[in-house]
């Protein structure tokens, strides 16, 4: 079985893993990092979005062995200890979730999207976040929360 090394949330992991295991299942079933969610396993919902070498990716569409040596941040690694990332706080303040199942993916995706620096307006943020579905219909809260942080960034 192939061996890989993954740096997840600033911790090194050594994994012996079959080639058919997705990065999503590796995180959830092998590393017990279940904050990352599976909503479709087919790249259609965005629930599994994580940050890999600083970029947002769909972990269900990625085989774990493809990411040997990569630096991964999952929802569990977004906050600094007990201190929430400003986007996490904004999600709470704007009631940007109901069931909360799409939330880890939305937050990781938004962090990745903001780092890409492409979206300038609310409409562009909506477009670039549209790969992350929310069945509860918390869309307005989610975009409000992201815009709060987006505004904060652009004024720096």
């Amino acid at each position: 079985m192939p061996r890989i090394q993954l740096n997840v949330n600033k911790r090194m992991y050594e994994l012996e893993i079959s080639p058919w295991v997705s990065l999503l299942d590796a995180l959830r079933d092998r590393l017990n990092l279940t904050g990352t969610k599976k909503g479709c396993d087919h790249g259609q919902c965005g629930a599994c979005t994580i940050l890999c070498d600083g970029k947002r990716i769909l972990s269900c569409m990625t085989l774990a062995i493809m990411k040997n040596g990569a630096e991964v941040v999952t929802i569990e690694g977004v906050s600094e200890g007990q201190k929430l990332h400003p986007l996490q706080q904004a999600f709470i303040d704007h009631d940007a979730f109901q069931c909360g199942y799409c939330t880890p993916g939305q937050i990781c995706s938004a962090i990745g999207m903001l780092a890409e620096g492409k979206a300038k307006t609310r409409e562009e943020v909506k477009d670039l976040m549209s790969g992350n579905l929310c069945r509860c219909g918390a869309n307005i809260g989610i975009i409000d929360a992201i815009m709060e942080i987006h505004g904060g960034l652009s004024h720096e």
């Binding site: 929802i75 709470i92 979730f97 799409c102 549209s130 219909g137 989610i142």
Partner: protein, 751 residues
């Protein structure tokens, strides 16, 4: 109310917010359990017939496979139908997984592969070889309308009564009315599709004891189901669901992954997890297809004279799933002549299950579009038409409503939206290359309350502990219940804990029908009052208690203390009470239930009004909902923040129902063709624009102790029709089938 009682009505952020934004919140398939086995379900690829043979030998010998369960080797389970019928089972014969080789619907679970990891189980499932004998089937409602029949009656009929009896002489009134409209609506299948996949993790505790993490809306329902089916003592089955990743009705009944997972765990005496795939999420619950015919008439003053509404719904071959589709106009618009019908056609599909605003969102779409058409014929503004036909009393029961602020919904909603700017002529409003349409519609939903039990206690630390088995499927239940309890005891939110999502806690019905805030909420009020009484009694009994000269009703609880209202210096803290009780917690368990006797004199309902603006491209006919306002009258709003989210969520669902989501059924193959989230379209962020919610003041002192009515469904009742009506206003075209595709508008363009 004292000045400390101020949590209710506050827009408190969700108390579980931090757990949800950090990934800490664990859902059914997330629990870390040692030595876990993984299951994978094999589903039927035919729609009707028999399994002739099922060969599991290759799969079984694959490295890592532990067991394969089929109808041939499954363990025994209860044979009586009654034992499989859950609290939400409709009349009929409940579906029993792996019962025998009969196939009743496409996607029926026919085998469970259990392996040491998920990948192995999934791969081995492809090695199971099945031979079928196919039989002819029918799955398309439209082709089988002729087979419609009366639904069977059963326990569920109590909550879903048949349509009301006819009044007057509808045919004659319709014939003689100067204004009339006859419409025919077609609604296809929809699937709940919560983003969380259905999953169960069963912990085998030994000795026939199970701890089950399940995706459900009813912990007690599923506990009793598992106990009944597998012959366990119900106390040995504990079902937990503290976090549920959306359900929208699909979790009202125990689903087959629970059955299979519990069966495997008991048989293998191991911990097992079973998570369904997205395509399997289309194999156990859906909103049924519906066909509706309506005839409404009015006199020249614009008063409705006749209402006729006939609906035909779909059900499975084995159960009669009932919805209330055709009864609603009778509760909104007084008419002297009425006729209502509701029938079912059994088809080779799994049973439908209530899906958010079941029946109401289907029936009211047809009703409110027909009303719009009638208003247009009358040349009356659609809002004015509703106001003219406003029912002060419930026309159906001829009783007054416990409260009804629908008029305020109309007025406040219209004002916020800017309805007066509407030019009544279709196609008359535009912006550049876009046609603009304004549409409105009314909404009504029942106000249910189920009996519920709550335990309330003061812990040894002097904190208030409240517990009930209900779930919180994203509705804000945890937060709302904590607010209610805090106010009852004059405590701050931090000093109250609500324990829920656990079948071990006192009884709650499943979370559905917008009923839990009233059900568990009222039980909290009752239990808190009883606990206060008990505390007062205990304190008065203490030696030298300064309280015993005061009447009970002169004693209040606030700021963590029990005190005399007009002599606050006479006080004792909750902690001191516990110390005096030798450190032991003081508790009580009480039942909250609807005041049926008192309510018999009244009718009860929530109401809403929706206003929508659409923009439609002149050439391409692409449709965009640019603005929408939903005004809601639902009694007291405990938490305006979470309640607003409930309504906003329903507004996104409305957009979805009107313009996006549909399950495409191929009736030749008898199967759903788009069982995935790429082809089952729901609105994405880019589709959702300027949506707003108005809660109108509605004081209701009759309905229950809290004056609440529930907000889970009401936001989805009016807006689909408002969108359809706005599309007519923009284009002059009436579309009678949902969802509306832009090509419908291309078929014959208006000049």
């Amino acid at each position: 109310m004292t000045q400390d009682n101020n949590a209710v009505g506050k827009p408190l952020s969700r108390l579980e917010g931090k757990a949800k934004v950090t990934g800490e919140a664990a859902y059914a398939g997330d629990y870390q359990v040692p030595n876990l086995l993984y299951g994978y379900v094999v589903n039927s690829t035919i729609t009707k017939g028999k399994i002739v043979s099922i060969d599991v030998s290759d799969a079984k010998s694959y490295n890592g496979v532990i067991a394969i369960f089929t109808h041939e080797n499954r363990p025994d389970y209860a044979s009586l139908d009654l034992k499989h019928a859950d609290m939400d089972a409709p009349p009929g014969k409940v579906f029993k997984p792996l019962q025998n080789g009969d196939i009743k619907f496409h996607g029926q679970p026919i085998a469970l592969v259990v392996a040491t990891d998920f990948e192995t189980a999934r791969y081995a499932s492809t090695l199971v070889k099945i031979k079928y004998e196919e039989q002819p089937f029918e799955t398309d409602l439209e082709k089988n309308l002729g087979r419609a029949r009366e639904p069977k009656k059963g326990l569920a009929t109590a909550l879903k009564p048949p349509p009301p009896k006819p009044k007057g002489d509808f045919e004659k009134a319709y014939e003689q009315s100067p204004f009339k409209v006859s419409t025919e609506f077609i609604h296809g299948t929809e699937h709940h599709n919560p983003i969380e996949l259905f999953a169960t993790t069963v912990v085998y505790e030994g000795d026939g004891k199970l701890t089950i993490y399940d995706k459900t809306q009813g912990t007690v329902n599923n506990q009793v189901y598992v106990a009944n089916v597998f012959g366990l003592h119900y106390k040995d089955v504990r079902v937990l669901a503290p976090y549920v990743g959306g359900a929208f009705g699909s979790g009202l009944r125990p689903q087959y992954q629970l059955f299979l997972c519990a069966m495997a765990a008991l048989e293998l005496k191991r911990n097992v997890r079973l998570t369904l795939e997205r395509k399997q999420m289309f194999s156990f619950s859906h909103r049924p297809q519906a066909h509706q015919i309506l005839k409404f008439s009015a006199d020249k003053e614009g008063m409705v004279t006749g209402l006729s509404h006939a609906a035909i719904g779909e059900t499975s071959l084995y159960e009669d799933n009932i919805e209330i589709v055709s009864s609603w106009s009778n509760r909104l618009y007084p008419a002297e002549n009425t006729h209502f019908e509701y029938k079912l056609v059994p088809l080779c599909l799994h049973s439908p299950i209530d899906m958010r605003a079941p029946g109401g969102s289907t029936g009211m779409h047809a009703i409110e579009c027909t009303m719009d058409e009638l208003a247009f014929k009358l040349n009356v503004d659609p809002l004015e038409f509703r106001l003219r036909n406003y029912a002060e009393m419930d026309p159906e029961s001829e009783k007054p409503f416990t409260s009804k602020a629908l008029r305020e919904c109309y007025i406040k909603g219209a004002e916020k939206f800017g309805w007066h700017q509407r030019n009544p002529i279709p196609g008359s409003m535009s912006k550049g290359n876009k046609l603009i349409g304004y549409g409105m519609a009314s909404g009504i939903w029942d106000a249910y309350q189920f009996p519920a039990r709550v335990e309330a206690s003061i812990s040894s630390q002097g904190k208030l502990l409240i517990s009930n088995a209900t779930t919180d499927i994203g509705t804000g239940t945890l937060t709302v219940m904590t607010q209610i309890a805090a106010d009852e005891f004059g405590l701050s939110i931090q000093d109250v804990s609500f324990v829920y999502g656990d079948s071990k806690q006192p009884f709650s019905m499943f979370q559905g029908g917008s009923a839990i805030t009233a059900s568990t909420g009222v039980a909290i009020v009752v239990a808190a009052k009883a606990l206060k009484k008990k505390l007062i009694k205990k304190v008065k009994a203490l030696a030298n208690s300064p309280f015993h000269v005061f009447q009970d009703d002169a004693i209040v609880f606030r700021g963590g203390k029990m005190m005399v209202k007009h002599e606050p210096s006479v006080s004792i803290s909750l902690e001191e009470i516990i110390v005096a009780n030798k450190g032991r917690a003081i508790k009580t368990t009480n039942m909250g239930k609807p005041h049926l006797l008192k309510l018999r004199k009244y009718s009860k309902a929530t109401h809403s009004a929706a206003f929508v603006e659409v923009e439609i491209d002149r050439e391409l006919k692409t449709i965009n909902v640019t603005r929408a306002v939903t005004a809601v009258a639902a009694g007291k709003i405990i938490n305006p923040k979470t309640a607003r989210s409930q309504i906003l969520g329903s507004m996104v669902w409305s957009l979805s129902k009107a313009l996006r989501e549909e399950t495409i059924l191929d009736s030749t193959l008898g199967k759903y063709m788009n069982p995935n989230l790429a082809e089952y379209h729901i609105p994405v962020h880019a589709d959702v624009h300027d949506f707003d919610v108005v809660f109108v003041e509605e004081k209701d002192e009759l309905i229950n102790e809290l004056g609440v009515k529930g907000v889970g469904e009401i936001g989805l009742i009016a807006m689909p029709a408002a969108i359809t009506n706005a599309i007519f206003h923009a284009t002059g075209k009436r579309i009678y089938k949902l969802p509306i595709h832009f090509d419908e508008l291309l078929k014959d363009r208006i000049a």
